[in-house]
Assembly symmetry: C2
Homo-oligomer: 444 residues x 2
Amino acid sequence: MTSLLLEISPHQVEVAETLIQVGRFVVIFLVARAIAELMVRLQLPTILGELVAGVLIGVSGLHLIVPPGTQATINAGVLSVLGSLAEILPGDVQSIYNETFPSLQAVSQIGLFALLFLTGLESELDELVAVGVQASTVAVAGVVLPFALGTAGLVVVFHVPLIPAVFAGAAMTATSIGITASVFGELKWLKRKEGQIVIGAAVLDDILGIVILAVVVAVVGGGAFSLAPLLKLCLAAIAFVAVALVLSRKAAPAFDWVVDRLKAPGDVAVASFLVLTVCCFAAQAIGLEAALGAFAAGLILSASKHTHDIDAAVKPLVALFATVFFVLIGTGMDLSVLNPFDPANREGLLVAGFLLLVAIAGKVAAGWSYVSAEPTNRLVVGLGMMPRGEVGLIFLGLGSQAGILTPALEAAILLMVIGTTFLAPILLRLVIPAEPNGAAPLAP
Amino acid sequence: MTSLLLEISPHQVEVAETLIQVGRFVVIFLVARAIAELMVRLQLPTILGELVAGVLIGVSGLHLIVPPGTQATINAGVLSVLGSLAEILPGDVQSIYNETFPSLQAVSQIGLFALLFLTGLESELDELVAVGVQASTVAVAGVVLPFALGTAGLVVVFHVPLIPAVFAGAAMTATSIGITASVFGELKWLKRKEGQIVIGAAVLDDILGIVILAVVVAVVGGGAFSLAPLLKLCLAAIAFVAVALVLSRKAAPAFDWVVDRLKAPGDVAVASFLVLTVCCFAAQAIGLEAALGAFAAGLILSASKHTHDIDAAVKPLVALFATVFFVLIGTGMDLSVLNPFDPANREGLLVAGFLLLVAIAGKVAAGWSYVSAEPTNRLVVGLGMMPRGEVGLIFLGLGSQAGILTPALEAAILLMVIGTTFLAPILLRLVIPAEPNGAAPLAP
């Protein structure tokens, strides 16, 4: 691949890079927007349109946006058009495409961070603390139930060996906070008690997920299982939550003081982005997910008097780049494992049906795990915890790389992830009644 | 490098990638904002602060942000801190740093496109057309004068061979529309006649620059010089300007019609970004710069009734990512060639002094090249055309790669680029009087 690239001039490479990078945005936004508009008219969340758009243009569809990890190739027609425009060979276009793909992923990460930042910004700290116990119960129940039922079922019913069964069970514990936050935000249920329980539980679930991942990787690695790094991780998680809670109470006035003294243009945008990136860095540095830092950053600034301006500065980033994030999730999903006419798929489909059932039932049941004085819609809470999304795919990717999953089990986990991810927005939309004017009810 | 990477786990690589990518944003925004605030208090344009910030953290400074092309290495302390956080070797951090750098450049490109889009959006089409003749005169004079004087001087006075002299002359024809647009926008002179002449001339200069580049590359390449591709390029440029002008008159109502029918959230942001990326793709596809397409996209939408919302959606992208773009320009500038105590620099400094003089005089003189019935500030026009910025650096990079420049001439061109880039915002600020309240006068 590289030897081919050496024969073409840097200018041609640059032209091809620009065409590919800009062209990918055109395809993503055109298709995602078209299907999102359709979804809105069907009174379904737009994120579903973004996921479907990804599937349509991804490895299961037109092969326009193909993550290099999936080993699929770009649509040959597109390669030859781009090649003739940049005056290089289609093979070179494919190489440059793959080399520039991380840039698209980096932009999509900015979108995810911006979305979680916005979710934190629109969260009520007091409300989050008030539902802390309920959120913890939901998170723990939503981890234990799918893990225990899934692992046990795989071992007992399907005679899967213990290690892959544990791995599949672990993949079922995830919750995609991004998808949940997006759906709740659009339906204006983020500030309701159900919304706050789900967001709080999803955040805790992300933290639990990191711990589970560390345990599973240690078990799978087969090396000496040591408790020290795990304890360190748990301590880091607790410290992180504690610091974030303290800063949410104390740091906003300091932020406002600084912003009031800034005079150069774009002050609020840059200052918020700085807080966002610092928190992402801090979270990642102590071993947690950077995305958790983004949520914490939003929570910290939710008490600022500039929230309206921060909101206005961050929303375009979410509209543009979180869309890229969700479309990319869709592009990586290979739906061919769904085809029941291919005999090779049948074992996977059977296991998948079981996993999907447990994945849905486990999380929905978690909605009934907490105690609440006032009535809440427990089904909304359970369904909100359901989508595995990108977190499930990360688990799957790790399992594939470690080589511990059979093709059938790999397909089954993928189907479980796809099923929960697509069903959650649809079911939530059905459960949350629309207002007569087509909009969802506003939070009180 | 790659063999080292194979020994560390994908998870460690991912942690390191996130720390590096997020950390780079933290450094860039922290330093750029601090110095931009200083500049505002000195009544200087903030872009100067961004360039200075880049120099401070780049190859001439702290080695925190180092473009891989410069062959400099990252600050060893930073490498070891990041390495210990991600539990990998400092050498691996450097590899991952270099591999992820294109993502930062892609984000900075989005910033440049957003800035030029905003410039087009805030331009008055009728005013631009009205100053079309003046802008063309300024553009042509600003290309011919520095090129002729520079090339002739290098050959006659400094006995530089013809081909490198032609190349250096060509590098002096560039105008950085980004820097100019940023300064004029901040000083609120974009909608004045001077602002429109400079923007129009800078756009034409970009087109001329592409043609000049094609000629120079053909000459330097030494191959058979054929007129056909050049004619094609000229035709493409004319067609592009014509289509953009027609669309500016006709396409905005169609855009408004579509936007009015969009219901999913983020409609204006996504629709504008779609127009932006389509225009960038079209411009690049016919052989022009994608950045020109971004300007054209803004111009096309400047007649939309949604300009206020478009403006609000694009401004955060400019505030965040155009900052990254200008900081990156600064990081790549190696100021060590400025040291007069190093004897190796003296020849370059002498040539540089000459080039800088011609570069300033040639563009400033172009400000007196047009005929205007009403009085205009010709010095503002001339100074506005002065910064070579990233366009000059692109020429320099091509010359280096082709191996046709001596180290002294390379240093001289770099100094000419640095000098014009830094002097232009300062001189413009001195020439454009500040209002008593510290703000620049508003356009009438």
